[in-house]
């Protein structure tokens, strides 16, 4: 028990970040679930982080209210953003939403009231690990209930063939907008939690590379199912910690090693596990069954001879 407590204290920050990254990965996943590559989550997280920090520090609002603001403000921003950009498809939507994220980041860099590029420091540490995991759990519950429902089928249909889905009476634009708004709320909530977990926020923490990280979490974990995003976030958040121990042994700095290994993991997953890490057990089962099937007739022939 004492050992467990020690582990918890040593890795508290990693444990918290697994949850925060899971929320961010889920914010990308919800748009992917209806086939949209929307990458505005870093911008939405920044809005949530700054709004909640200002809410607790300047407006003295209670933390739950600040978190509500962190989720609702980006969700509100997502509506006027989504109406025009969701007309774009594929990589064009990705570019437009990345552009939105950069606008938010540069806006914050140039906003003196929040200290520009230096960001806000000495934010009260109000987010505890149970709050982070409660948010993850509520989100997973919501996605679990949507899966297999009328709305879940509509999202899958839009992902697979949007024009065909529309001929079934599915208003695809509304669904895509709803998922963008939900993703924005999740990213904003993650940002609000992060700001009150790490004492500080700065614009450069919400740049292009951050949203790429979120996408990689979702893809490496598996973008077909909602728990894939969580698995990817957990795996790729723990991995650098393991590498930190390993780095001195191979004589590479931990920072570059992390980028190298992340890239390698992404490459391997795309090549060999296109449905992500969560499909690994199924793939292993299928391979074992295939090998058994290949052996069985040969054995039978041998016995007959």
């Amino acid at each position: 028990m004492e050992q467990l407590t020690d582990i918890y204290l040593t890795y508290q920050s990693t444990i918290g970040y697994i949850g925060i990254n899971a929320l961010l990965a889920l914010s990308i996943y919800v748009s992917l679930s209806c086939g949209q590559l929307a990458l505005g989550s870093a911008g939405f997280a920044a809005i949530g982080a700054y709004a909640s920090a200002l809410a607790t520090m300047k407006a003295d609002l209670p933390f739950p209210v600040a978190l509500l603001v962190a989720a609702l403000l980006p969700a509100l921003v997502a509506v006027p953003l989504g109406l025009p950009v969701l007309r774009l498809k594929g990589v064009f939507l990705a570019i437009a939403t990345i552009g939105f994220g950069e606008v938010v980041r540069l806006g914050l860099v140039n906003w003196d009231y929040v200290n520009g590029a230096q960001g806000i420091v000495a934010i009260p540490q109000k987010a505890s690990i149970w709050m982070i995991y409660l948010a993850v759990a509520v989100t997973l519950f919501l996605l679990w209930r949507v899966r297999g429902s009328k709305w879940g089928f509509a999202l899958e249909a839009i992902r697979e063939d949007e024009p065909a889905a529309r001929t079934m009476g599915i208003p695809s634009t509304q669904y895509k907008l709803a998922m963008l708004v939900l993703g924005a709320a999740l990213a904003g909530l993650a940002g609000g939690l992060e700001a009150h977990f790490t004492f500080m926020v700065a614009p450069n923490g919400f740049g292009f590379s951050r949203v790429v990280d979120m996408l990689v979490f979702a893809v490496v974990g598996g973008a077909q199912v909602f728990w894939g995003a969580v698995a990817g976030a957990a795996f790729l958040t723990v991995l650098p910690e393991a590498l930190r121990e390993l780095a001195p042994l191979v004589g590479i700095e931990p920072g570059p090693l992390r980028l190298l290994v992340n890239g390698l993991v992404l490459l391997l997953v795309i090549l060999f596990l296109p449905a992500g890490l969560v499909s690994l057990p199924r793939r292993l089962r299928e391979r074992r069954a295939a090998r058994k099937a290949a052996r069985a007739p040969a054995g039978g022939a041998g016995a007959a001879a």
Partner: protein
């Protein structure tokens, strides 16, 4: 009989090409209406115009007296139009049953709250929908393929799942775009019976088809298109004897 669907001077151009060139005809309620014509006559374009995948460049389309030309396709579906596709467009990763469940979108009215609170009514609604989907798959002759992914089904099976998916919205007008393409004669026979049965249940059918025997057997009336224009219309025997139709299909003697 009153017209369920009526087209007046419908035109659709693609650049310089007039795919549909002033087509006018009516589909009476509760009938099977054939739409035939040589390749490139504009049949599929016309289906796309009625279902809202394309907007006409001119002309009027009315469904039950209501103008639908140019409405978005999900609105037209909401008014009671369902369709299948010439190039099959099932959702390949979903099972046959789930494809039909998607088709039920307009007919399902579950409560989000009941679903979030894990109420029994939510489970019952989903089970009832699943049973309806199973019944539709049985209707098209695929009762034991419900759990198969659509991409693993044979060509003929996929076409029948598409019909089941279209019927799932309980449409007043069903648009079938070459439903027997690639089917063997036994399967074609099954589709012919299915179409008659669907019509007997009160759905109107607009059938685009190359299989002339099927069209002659199941249709109440037939409209013939060529180069985007209506060149003949009438009952199957009338159309079969129409000189313009014979010329369009076989060419003139000189």
């Amino acid at each position: 009989m009153s017209a369920l669907l009526s087209l007046r001077g419908v035109e659709r151009t693609f650049g310089g090409l007039r795919a549909v060139d002033g087509a006018s005809f009516e589909v009476a309620a509760g009938t099977v209406h054939g739409l035939i014509g040589p390749n490139g006559a504009g049949k599929t374009t016309l289906i796309n115009l009625v279902s809202g995948l394309l907007a006409p460049t001119a002309g009027a389309i009315e469904l039950g007296g209501r103008a639908i030309a140019g409405l978005p396709s999900h609105r037209i579906a909401g008014l009671g139009v369902a369709r299948t596709f010439q190039s099959i467009r099932l959702f390949p990763e979903l099972t046959a049953r789930d494809n039909v469940l998607v088709g039920q979108h307009l007919r399902r009215h579950p409560s989000l709250l009941a679903r979030l609170l894990l109420l029994r009514s939510a489970g019952e609604e989903a089970r009832a929908a699943g049973e309806r989907a199973g019944a539709l798959l049985a209707l098209v002759g695929l009762p034991d393929r419900a759990n198969e992914q659509a991409r693993h089904l044979s060509y003929g099976e996929q076409r029948r799942v598409e019909i089941a998916r279209a019927l799932a919205s309980e449409p007043s007008l069903l648009l079938l775009d070459e439903p027997t393409a690639g089917m063997n004669p036994v399967e074609v026979q099954g589709v012919a019976q299915l179409i008659r049965r669907v019509a007997a249940d009160g759905h109107s059918v607009l059938l685009v088809e190359h299989n002339v025997r099927l069209v002659m057997n199941v249709c109440d009336r037939i409209t013939v298109l060529n180069f985007g224009k209506v060149i003949a219309e009438g009952t199957p025997p009338e159309v079969a004897a129409h000189p313009a139709v014979i010329t369009a299909y076989l060419g003139s003697e000189r």
